[in-house]
Protein backbone atom coordinates (compact mmCIF):
# COMPACT_ATOMS: atom_id res chain seq x y z
CA UNK A 1 0.00 0.00 0.00
CA UNK A 2 1.43 3.35 -0.91
CA UNK A 3 1.42 6.33 1.41
CA UNK A 4 -0.10 8.56 -1.20
CA UNK A 5 -3.73 9.45 -1.73
CA UNK A 6 -3.20 9.34 -5.47
CA UNK A 7 -0.38 8.38 -7.79
CA UNK A 8 -0.52 9.75 -11.30
CA UNK A 9 1.48 9.84 -14.50
CA UNK A 10 2.50 13.32 -15.40
CA UNK A 11 2.99 14.97 -18.79
CA UNK A 12 4.80 18.28 -18.16
CA UNK A 13 4.70 19.80 -21.64
CA UNK A 14 7.41 21.94 -23.20
CA UNK A 15 6.55 25.23 -21.47
CA UNK A 16 6.72 23.76 -17.97
CA UNK A 17 9.82 21.74 -18.79
CA UNK A 18 11.97 24.44 -20.40
CA UNK A 19 10.68 27.66 -18.98
CA UNK A 20 8.19 28.18 -16.20
CA UNK A 21 10.30 26.88 -13.28
CA UNK A 22 8.23 29.13 -11.02
CA UNK A 23 5.20 26.97 -11.78
CA UNK A 24 6.73 23.49 -11.95
CA UNK A 25 8.48 23.58 -8.57
CA UNK A 26 5.43 24.73 -6.56
CA UNK A 27 3.34 22.09 -8.32
CA UNK A 28 5.59 19.26 -7.17
CA UNK A 29 5.89 20.68 -3.64
CA UNK A 30 2.20 21.42 -3.17
CA UNK A 31 0.89 18.18 -4.64
CA UNK A 32 3.39 16.16 -2.60
CA UNK A 33 2.05 17.84 0.56
CA UNK A 34 -1.52 17.13 -0.58
CA UNK A 35 -0.68 13.46 -0.99
CA UNK A 36 -0.53 13.34 -4.79
CA UNK A 37 2.61 11.81 -6.27
CA UNK A 38 3.46 12.61 -9.89
CA UNK A 39 5.62 10.37 -12.06
CA UNK A 40 6.88 12.09 -15.18
CA UNK A 41 6.23 10.09 -18.37
CA UNK A 42 9.38 8.55 -19.70
CA UNK A 43 10.69 10.10 -22.93
CA UNK A 44 7.53 12.08 -23.70
CA UNK A 45 7.39 14.26 -26.80
CA UNK A 46 5.70 17.56 -27.67
CA UNK A 47 1.91 17.31 -28.06
CA UNK A 48 2.09 19.42 -31.24
CA UNK A 49 1.51 22.68 -29.36
CA UNK A 50 -0.56 25.20 -31.31
CA UNK A 51 0.75 24.01 -34.68
CA UNK A 52 0.55 20.22 -34.70
CA UNK A 53 -3.20 20.04 -35.27
CA UNK A 54 -3.02 22.91 -37.76
CA UNK A 55 -0.37 21.24 -39.90
CA UNK A 56 -1.78 17.74 -40.00
CA UNK A 57 -4.67 15.82 -38.51
CA UNK A 58 -2.58 12.64 -38.23
CA UNK A 59 0.34 14.61 -36.76
CA UNK A 60 -1.60 15.67 -33.68
CA UNK A 61 -3.19 12.24 -33.24
CA UNK A 62 0.10 10.34 -33.59
CA UNK A 63 2.05 12.71 -31.31
CA UNK A 64 -0.67 12.20 -28.69
CA UNK A 65 -0.70 8.45 -29.28
CA UNK A 66 3.04 8.21 -28.68
CA UNK A 67 2.67 10.05 -25.37
CA UNK A 68 -0.24 7.86 -24.28
CA UNK A 69 1.78 4.76 -25.18
CA UNK A 70 4.33 5.83 -22.53
CA UNK A 71 1.74 5.89 -19.74
CA UNK A 72 1.67 2.82 -17.49
CA UNK A 73 -1.71 1.23 -16.80
CA UNK A 74 -3.51 1.98 -13.55
CA UNK A 75 -2.50 5.59 -13.08
CA UNK A 76 -4.45 8.60 -14.32
CA UNK A 77 -2.50 10.92 -16.62
CA UNK A 78 -2.20 14.49 -15.35
CA UNK A 79 -1.55 17.22 -17.92
CA UNK A 80 -1.16 20.66 -16.30
CA UNK A 81 -0.91 22.65 -19.56
CA UNK A 82 -4.43 23.33 -20.90
CA UNK A 83 -3.28 23.30 -24.53
CA UNK A 84 -1.44 19.99 -24.15
CA UNK A 85 -4.50 18.69 -22.33
CA UNK A 86 -6.78 19.61 -25.21
CA UNK A 87 -4.41 18.22 -27.85
CA UNK A 88 -3.88 14.91 -26.09
CA UNK A 89 -7.56 14.53 -25.16
CA UNK A 90 -8.49 15.16 -28.79
CA UNK A 91 -5.94 12.57 -29.93
CA UNK A 92 -7.32 10.12 -27.38
CA UNK A 93 -10.85 10.81 -28.61
CA UNK A 94 -9.83 10.09 -32.22
CA UNK A 95 -8.05 6.89 -31.19
CA UNK A 96 -11.13 5.66 -29.33
CA UNK A 97 -13.53 6.62 -32.12
CA UNK A 98 -11.50 5.29 -35.03
CA UNK A 99 -10.23 1.69 -34.71
CA UNK A 100 -8.18 1.93 -37.93
CA UNK A 101 -6.14 4.88 -36.59
CA UNK A 102 -5.69 3.09 -33.28
CA UNK A 103 -4.42 -0.03 -35.03
CA UNK A 104 -1.95 1.92 -37.18
CA UNK A 105 -0.62 3.80 -34.15
CA UNK A 106 -0.37 0.69 -31.99
CA UNK A 107 1.72 -0.95 -34.71
CA UNK A 108 4.09 2.02 -34.44
CA UNK A 109 4.27 2.66 -30.69
CA UNK A 110 3.02 -0.49 -28.98
CA UNK A 111 0.12 -0.62 -26.50
CA UNK A 112 -1.60 2.75 -26.11
CA UNK A 113 -3.15 3.52 -22.75
CA UNK A 114 -6.74 4.54 -23.44
CA UNK A 115 -8.23 3.10 -20.26
CA UNK A 116 -6.89 5.57 -17.72
CA UNK A 117 -8.42 9.04 -17.68
CA UNK A 118 -6.55 12.13 -18.85
CA UNK A 119 -6.94 14.84 -16.20
CA UNK A 120 -6.26 18.52 -15.97
CA UNK A 121 -4.30 19.81 -12.97
CA UNK A 122 -7.33 21.53 -11.49
CA UNK A 123 -9.37 18.34 -11.76
CA UNK A 124 -6.92 16.74 -9.32
CA UNK A 125 -6.86 19.68 -6.89
CA UNK A 126 -10.64 19.96 -7.04
CA UNK A 127 -10.93 16.23 -6.29
CA UNK A 128 -8.69 16.47 -3.23
CA UNK A 129 -10.58 19.51 -1.91
CA UNK A 130 -13.87 17.66 -2.42
CA UNK A 131 -12.59 14.77 -0.32
CA UNK A 132 -11.52 17.24 2.37
CA UNK A 133 -14.92 18.95 2.37
CA UNK A 134 -16.68 15.59 2.70
CA UNK A 135 -14.46 14.74 5.65
CA UNK A 136 -12.86 11.62 4.15
CA UNK A 137 -9.40 13.16 3.88
CA UNK A 138 -7.47 15.70 5.92
CA UNK A 139 -4.75 17.98 4.66
CA UNK A 140 -1.66 18.67 6.78
CA UNK A 141 -1.36 22.23 8.15
CA UNK A 142 -2.65 24.84 5.71
CA UNK A 143 -2.37 28.59 5.56
CA UNK A 144 -5.42 30.38 4.11
CA UNK A 145 -4.99 33.14 1.56
CA UNK A 146 -6.54 35.85 3.83
CA UNK A 147 -9.07 37.10 1.28
CA UNK A 148 -6.63 37.81 -1.57
CA UNK A 149 -8.76 39.36 -4.33
CA UNK A 150 -8.35 37.08 -7.30
CA UNK A 151 -9.57 37.23 -10.89
CA UNK A 152 -9.72 33.65 -12.10
CA UNK A 153 -8.40 33.32 -15.65
CA UNK A 154 -8.92 30.05 -17.51
CA UNK A 155 -7.78 31.39 -20.87
CA UNK A 156 -8.85 29.47 -23.93
CA UNK A 157 -7.68 26.33 -22.15
CA UNK A 158 -11.21 25.79 -20.91
CA UNK A 159 -12.61 25.71 -24.43
CA UNK A 160 -13.14 22.28 -25.92
CA UNK A 161 -14.97 20.90 -28.92
CA UNK A 162 -18.39 19.66 -27.79
CA UNK A 163 -17.38 16.05 -28.43
CA UNK A 164 -14.85 16.28 -25.59
CA UNK A 165 -16.86 18.28 -23.10
CA UNK A 166 -20.56 18.36 -23.99
CA UNK A 167 -21.47 20.58 -21.04
CA UNK A 168 -19.33 23.45 -22.34
CA UNK A 169 -16.50 25.23 -20.57
CA UNK A 170 -16.02 24.49 -16.86
CA UNK A 171 -17.47 27.39 -14.91
CA UNK A 172 -16.59 26.79 -11.33
CA UNK A 173 -13.57 24.52 -10.90
CA UNK A 174 -10.88 27.18 -10.43
CA UNK A 175 -13.35 29.35 -8.53
CA UNK A 176 -14.09 26.52 -6.06
CA UNK A 177 -10.38 25.95 -5.52
CA UNK A 178 -9.74 29.64 -4.79
CA UNK A 179 -12.66 29.84 -2.36
CA UNK A 180 -11.53 26.65 -0.66
CA UNK A 181 -8.07 28.20 -0.18
CA UNK A 182 -9.55 31.30 1.47
CA UNK A 183 -9.20 33.72 -1.43
CA UNK A 184 -11.86 36.18 -2.50
CA UNK A 185 -13.30 35.98 -6.02
CA UNK A 186 -14.23 38.90 -8.20
CA UNK A 187 -16.76 38.68 -11.01
CA UNK A 188 -15.26 39.92 -14.23
CA UNK A 189 -15.92 39.74 -17.96
CA UNK A 190 -12.98 37.82 -19.42
CA UNK A 191 -12.20 34.55 -17.60
CA UNK A 192 -12.30 32.62 -20.90
CA UNK A 193 -10.78 35.20 -23.24
CA UNK A 194 -7.84 34.11 -25.37
CA UNK A 195 -4.47 35.59 -24.25
CA UNK A 196 -3.45 35.81 -27.96
CA UNK A 197 -1.42 32.58 -27.85
CA UNK A 198 1.24 32.49 -30.59
CA UNK A 199 0.03 35.74 -32.19
CA UNK A 200 1.93 37.34 -29.31
CA UNK A 201 5.19 36.25 -30.92
CA UNK A 202 4.21 37.40 -34.41
CA UNK A 203 2.00 40.46 -33.92
CA UNK A 204 2.77 42.00 -30.49
CA UNK A 205 0.34 44.86 -31.14
CA UNK A 206 -2.58 42.40 -31.33
CA UNK A 207 -1.41 40.73 -28.14
CA UNK A 208 -1.16 44.09 -26.36
CA UNK A 209 -4.69 44.91 -27.47
CA UNK A 210 -6.08 41.63 -26.10
CA UNK A 211 -4.06 41.70 -22.90
CA UNK A 212 -5.01 45.29 -22.13
CA UNK A 213 -8.68 44.26 -22.31
CA UNK A 214 -8.01 41.41 -19.90
CA UNK A 215 -5.98 43.49 -17.45
CA UNK A 216 -8.28 46.53 -17.43
CA UNK A 217 -11.32 44.23 -17.14
CA UNK A 218 -9.86 42.60 -14.05
CA UNK A 219 -8.64 45.86 -12.54
CA UNK A 220 -11.96 47.66 -12.98
CA UNK A 221 -13.69 44.94 -10.99
CA UNK A 222 -11.17 45.32 -8.15
CA UNK A 223 -8.90 42.33 -8.71
CA UNK A 224 -5.41 42.51 -7.26
CA UNK A 225 -4.01 39.62 -9.23
CA UNK A 226 -4.86 37.23 -12.01
CA UNK A 227 -4.60 33.49 -11.39
CA UNK A 228 -4.19 31.03 -14.22
CA UNK A 229 -3.28 27.38 -14.58
CA UNK A 230 -1.70 27.92 -18.02
CA UNK A 231 2.03 28.78 -17.99
CA UNK A 232 1.82 30.11 -21.54
CA UNK A 233 -1.03 32.53 -20.67
CA UNK A 234 0.91 33.71 -17.64
CA UNK A 235 3.96 34.50 -19.75
CA UNK A 236 1.97 36.16 -22.55
CA UNK A 237 0.00 38.39 -20.21
CA UNK A 238 3.05 39.42 -18.21
CA UNK A 239 5.06 40.20 -21.33
CA UNK A 240 2.31 42.20 -23.01
CA UNK A 241 1.21 44.17 -19.98
CA UNK A 242 4.71 45.61 -19.61
CA UNK A 243 4.01 48.71 -21.79
CA UNK A 244 0.85 49.46 -19.77
CA UNK A 245 1.03 51.90 -16.87
CA UNK A 246 -1.01 49.86 -14.40
CA UNK A 247 0.47 46.42 -13.91
CA UNK A 248 -1.37 43.52 -12.36
CA UNK A 249 0.62 40.52 -11.07
CA UNK A 250 -0.24 37.24 -12.80
CA UNK A 251 0.18 34.21 -10.55
CA UNK A 252 0.19 30.52 -11.31
CA UNK A 253 -2.48 28.46 -9.58
CA UNK A 254 0.34 26.18 -8.38
CA UNK A 255 2.01 29.05 -6.54
CA UNK A 256 -1.12 29.93 -4.57
CA UNK A 257 -1.59 26.25 -3.82
CA UNK A 258 1.98 26.01 -2.53
CA UNK A 259 1.47 29.08 -0.31
CA UNK A 260 -1.79 27.53 0.95
CA UNK A 261 0.03 24.30 1.77
CA UNK A 262 2.53 26.28 3.85
CA UNK A 263 5.69 26.21 1.73
CA UNK A 264 8.38 28.25 3.50
CA UNK A 265 10.01 31.46 2.23
CA UNK A 266 13.38 29.76 1.80
CA UNK A 267 11.77 27.61 -0.88
CA UNK A 268 9.40 30.07 -2.56
CA UNK A 269 11.66 33.15 -2.61
CA UNK A 270 13.26 32.23 -5.91
CA UNK A 271 9.96 31.80 -7.77
CA UNK A 272 9.00 35.46 -7.59
CA UNK A 273 12.25 36.54 -9.20
CA UNK A 274 11.01 34.87 -12.40
CA UNK A 275 8.05 37.26 -12.67
CA UNK A 276 8.23 40.35 -14.86
CA UNK A 277 5.64 41.99 -12.60
CA UNK A 278 6.80 41.47 -9.03
CA UNK A 279 4.00 39.96 -6.89
CA UNK A 280 5.98 40.19 -3.63
CA UNK A 281 4.44 43.48 -2.35
CA UNK A 282 0.97 41.97 -2.85
CA UNK A 283 1.87 38.78 -0.98
CA UNK A 284 3.37 40.78 1.89
CA UNK A 285 0.26 42.99 2.04
CA UNK A 286 -1.89 39.90 2.59
CA UNK A 287 0.60 38.40 5.01
CA UNK A 288 1.22 35.37 2.82
CA UNK A 289 4.99 35.49 3.28
CA UNK A 290 5.86 32.63 5.58
Amino acid sequence: MSNYLLEASFFPGCTLKTGADESREPMYLALEKMGVKLYELEDWNCCGSSSGHAMGHEVATSLGARNLSKAPLGRPIVIPCPNCFRNISTARHHLIEDPATLKANEAEFGRINLTDPVLNIYDIIHHVFNLVRMGSYTLPETKPLNGLKVAVYYGCGAMYPKALRPAGPPRDTLERIILEMGGELITWPWPHKCCSAFASAVYPEIAEDMVSQIITGAREQGAECLVTSCAMCQMNIEMREMPMTNHLPVLHLNQLLALFMGVKASEHEKWWKLHLVDPRPLLQKYNLWN
Binding site: C14, T15, K17, T18, G19, A20, D21, E22, D43, W44, N45, C46, G48, S49, S50, S51, G52, H53, A54, M55, G56, H57, E58, V59, L63, R66, R86, E108, F109, C156, A158, M159, Y160, P161, K162, A163, R165, P166, G168, P169, H192, K193, C194, S196, A197, F198, A199, A201, V202, Y203, P204, E205, I206, M210, M235, M239, M242, K273, L274, L276
Partner: protein, 202 residues
Amino acid sequence: MEREPKKFSSPEPIKASDSDAKFPKEVAKLAGTDLNACLTCMSCSGGCPMYQYMDYGPHGIMRLVVLGLKKEALTSNTIWRCLGCHTCAAVCPMAINIASVMDYLRQECLAEKLPVGDKPLWEFHRCMMNTINRHGRVHKLELMVEHKIRNLGQGPQAWLQDGPLGTKMLLMGKLHLLASNVMSTGKAQVRKILAAAPWKNY
Protein backbone atom coordinates in the same frame (compact mmCIF):
# COMPACT_ATOMS: atom_id res chain seq x y z
CA MET B 1 -1.71 45.03 -37.73
CA GLU B 2 -4.66 46.89 -39.20
CA ARG B 3 -8.24 45.84 -38.63
CA GLU B 4 -9.51 44.08 -41.72
CA PRO B 5 -12.60 45.21 -43.67
CA LYS B 6 -14.84 42.22 -44.34
CA LYS B 7 -15.15 40.84 -47.84
CA PHE B 8 -18.83 39.95 -47.61
CA SER B 9 -20.23 42.01 -50.47
CA SER B 10 -18.88 40.39 -53.57
CA PRO B 11 -18.94 42.65 -56.68
CA GLU B 12 -19.70 39.69 -58.92
CA PRO B 13 -22.51 37.21 -58.31
CA ILE B 14 -21.32 33.74 -57.31
CA LYS B 15 -21.51 31.44 -60.32
CA ALA B 16 -22.49 27.80 -59.97
CA SER B 17 -19.43 26.93 -62.06
CA ASP B 18 -17.12 28.38 -59.38
CA SER B 19 -18.55 26.04 -56.83
CA ASP B 20 -16.89 22.73 -56.06
CA ALA B 21 -19.68 20.40 -54.94
CA LYS B 22 -17.27 17.81 -53.53
CA PHE B 23 -15.48 20.30 -51.27
CA PRO B 24 -18.06 20.60 -48.44
CA LYS B 25 -18.43 16.82 -48.24
CA GLU B 26 -14.66 16.37 -48.10
CA VAL B 27 -14.31 18.97 -45.33
CA ALA B 28 -17.20 17.52 -43.34
CA LYS B 29 -15.70 14.03 -43.54
CA LEU B 30 -12.14 14.94 -42.61
CA ALA B 31 -13.04 17.52 -39.99
CA GLY B 32 -15.49 15.01 -38.55
CA THR B 33 -18.36 17.43 -38.25
CA ASP B 34 -21.74 18.22 -39.86
CA LEU B 35 -21.50 21.51 -41.76
CA ASN B 36 -25.18 21.55 -42.76
CA ALA B 37 -26.10 22.06 -39.12
CA CYS B 38 -24.75 25.64 -39.30
CA LEU B 39 -27.41 28.26 -38.48
CA THR B 40 -25.20 31.21 -39.50
CA CYS B 41 -25.95 32.60 -36.05
CA MET B 42 -22.44 34.12 -35.92
CA SER B 43 -21.79 32.90 -32.39
CA CYS B 44 -18.38 31.72 -33.59
CA SER B 45 -17.48 35.16 -34.94
CA GLY B 46 -18.86 36.79 -31.82
CA GLY B 47 -16.55 34.72 -29.65
CA CYS B 48 -13.52 34.81 -31.95
CA PRO B 49 -10.72 36.92 -30.41
CA MET B 50 -9.22 37.57 -33.87
CA TYR B 51 -12.47 38.39 -35.72
CA GLN B 52 -11.59 42.06 -36.25
CA TYR B 53 -8.35 41.12 -37.99
CA MET B 54 -9.85 38.53 -40.34
CA ASP B 55 -11.20 39.00 -43.85
CA TYR B 56 -14.17 36.62 -43.50
CA GLY B 57 -14.29 35.47 -39.90
CA PRO B 58 -15.22 31.93 -38.86
CA HIS B 59 -18.89 32.15 -39.90
CA GLY B 60 -17.83 33.52 -43.32
CA ILE B 61 -15.50 30.57 -43.79
CA MET B 62 -18.29 28.18 -42.86
CA ARG B 63 -20.48 29.77 -45.58
CA LEU B 64 -17.67 29.60 -48.16
CA VAL B 65 -17.15 25.93 -47.42
CA VAL B 66 -20.84 25.07 -47.59
CA LEU B 67 -21.14 26.98 -50.90
CA GLY B 68 -18.15 25.05 -52.22
CA LEU B 69 -16.03 28.15 -52.88
CA LYS B 70 -12.79 26.31 -52.32
CA LYS B 71 -10.31 28.86 -53.65
CA GLU B 72 -11.75 31.77 -51.64
CA ALA B 73 -11.71 29.70 -48.47
CA LEU B 74 -8.17 28.36 -48.90
CA THR B 75 -6.57 31.69 -49.82
CA SER B 76 -8.32 33.76 -47.13
CA ASN B 77 -6.24 35.07 -44.25
CA THR B 78 -8.93 33.95 -41.78
CA ILE B 79 -7.67 30.37 -41.72
CA TRP B 80 -4.15 31.54 -40.81
CA ARG B 81 -5.20 34.18 -38.30
CA CYS B 82 -7.20 31.55 -36.42
CA LEU B 83 -5.27 30.92 -33.18
CA GLY B 84 -6.82 27.51 -32.50
CA CYS B 85 -8.31 28.66 -29.20
CA HIS B 86 -11.47 26.56 -29.85
CA THR B 87 -13.79 29.30 -28.59
CA CYS B 88 -15.86 28.90 -31.77
CA ALA B 89 -16.19 25.16 -31.23
CA ALA B 90 -17.12 25.60 -27.58
CA VAL B 91 -19.81 28.24 -28.19
CA CYS B 92 -21.38 26.75 -31.34
CA PRO B 93 -25.02 25.94 -30.48
CA MET B 94 -25.04 23.21 -33.15
CA ALA B 95 -21.84 21.60 -31.82
CA ILE B 96 -19.93 22.07 -35.09
CA ASN B 97 -16.20 21.69 -34.56
CA ILE B 98 -15.23 24.90 -36.39
CA ALA B 99 -11.64 24.84 -35.10
CA SER B 100 -11.19 21.45 -36.73
CA VAL B 101 -12.55 22.83 -40.04
CA MET B 102 -9.94 25.60 -39.86
CA ASP B 103 -7.21 23.01 -39.22
CA TYR B 104 -8.31 21.04 -42.26
CA LEU B 105 -8.38 24.13 -44.49
CA ARG B 106 -4.83 25.08 -43.48
CA GLN B 107 -3.58 21.60 -44.33
CA GLU B 108 -5.44 21.68 -47.64
CA CYS B 109 -3.95 25.09 -48.48
CA LEU B 110 -0.44 23.69 -47.92
CA ALA B 111 -1.15 20.41 -49.72
CA GLU B 112 -2.38 22.26 -52.82
CA LYS B 113 0.54 24.73 -52.58
CA LEU B 114 -1.76 27.77 -52.72
CA PRO B 115 -0.45 31.17 -51.48
CA VAL B 116 -0.90 31.46 -47.71
CA GLY B 117 -3.12 34.30 -46.46
CA ASP B 118 -0.78 35.45 -43.69
CA LYS B 119 2.89 34.72 -44.19
CA PRO B 120 4.37 35.55 -40.75
CA LEU B 121 1.83 33.32 -39.00
CA TRP B 122 2.47 30.44 -41.39
CA GLU B 123 6.21 30.89 -40.84
CA PHE B 124 5.58 30.62 -37.12
CA HIS B 125 3.86 27.26 -37.63
CA ARG B 126 6.75 26.12 -39.82
CA CYS B 127 9.35 27.15 -37.20
CA MET B 128 7.35 25.36 -34.49
CA MET B 129 7.30 22.16 -36.55
CA ASN B 130 11.03 22.55 -37.26
CA THR B 131 11.92 22.77 -33.59
CA ILE B 132 9.76 19.73 -32.79
CA ASN B 133 11.49 17.98 -35.67
CA ARG B 134 14.93 18.75 -34.23
CA HIS B 135 14.34 18.06 -30.53
CA GLY B 136 11.05 16.20 -30.27
CA ARG B 137 9.98 19.05 -28.00
CA VAL B 138 9.57 22.79 -28.46
CA HIS B 139 12.52 25.02 -27.66
CA LYS B 140 11.15 28.55 -27.33
CA LEU B 141 14.40 30.43 -27.80
CA GLU B 142 15.30 28.57 -30.96
CA LEU B 143 11.75 29.00 -32.23
CA MET B 144 11.89 32.77 -31.80
CA VAL B 145 15.35 33.12 -33.35
CA GLU B 146 14.39 31.02 -36.37
CA HIS B 147 11.18 33.00 -36.78
CA LYS B 148 13.18 36.23 -36.78
CA ILE B 149 15.55 34.92 -39.44
CA ARG B 150 12.72 33.68 -41.66
CA ASN B 151 10.96 37.04 -41.39
CA LEU B 152 13.92 39.26 -42.25
CA GLY B 153 11.92 40.46 -45.25
CA GLN B 154 9.31 42.06 -42.97
CA GLY B 155 11.50 45.12 -42.30
CA PRO B 156 13.60 46.53 -39.44
CA GLN B 157 10.68 46.88 -37.06
CA ALA B 158 10.25 43.09 -37.09
CA TRP B 159 13.99 42.48 -36.51
CA LEU B 160 14.09 44.46 -33.28
CA GLN B 161 10.64 43.56 -32.05
CA ASP B 162 10.81 42.06 -28.54
CA GLY B 163 14.63 41.94 -28.58
CA PRO B 164 15.13 43.70 -25.21
CA LEU B 165 12.21 41.90 -23.53
CA GLY B 166 13.39 38.51 -24.82
CA THR B 167 16.96 39.14 -23.62
CA LYS B 168 15.65 40.19 -20.21
CA MET B 169 13.60 37.00 -19.89
CA LEU B 170 16.56 34.90 -20.96
CA LEU B 171 18.80 36.55 -18.33
CA MET B 172 16.11 36.13 -15.66
CA GLY B 173 16.05 32.42 -16.41
CA LYS B 174 12.43 32.43 -17.50
CA LEU B 175 13.47 30.96 -20.84
CA HIS B 176 15.98 28.15 -20.75
CA LEU B 177 19.03 28.43 -22.95
CA LEU B 178 19.28 24.71 -23.67
CA ALA B 179 16.62 22.54 -25.27
CA SER B 180 15.04 19.52 -23.63
CA ASN B 181 15.34 16.51 -25.90
CA VAL B 182 13.56 13.25 -26.64
CA MET B 183 15.83 10.19 -26.83
CA SER B 184 17.15 9.22 -30.25
CA THR B 185 14.67 6.39 -30.95
CA GLY B 186 11.85 8.71 -29.96
CA LYS B 187 13.19 11.44 -32.22
CA ALA B 188 13.09 9.09 -35.19
CA GLN B 189 9.44 8.28 -34.39
CA VAL B 190 8.53 11.97 -34.04
CA ARG B 191 10.28 12.83 -37.32
CA LYS B 192 8.40 10.07 -39.10
CA ILE B 193 5.09 11.47 -37.81
CA LEU B 194 5.93 15.02 -38.92
CA ALA B 195 7.25 14.00 -42.34
CA ALA B 196 3.85 12.57 -43.30
CA ALA B 197 2.15 16.00 -43.17
CA PRO B 198 1.84 18.47 -46.09
CA TRP B 199 3.76 21.32 -44.39
CA LYS B 200 7.03 19.53 -45.10
CA ASN B 201 6.90 20.08 -48.88
CA TYR B 202 5.41 23.56 -48.97
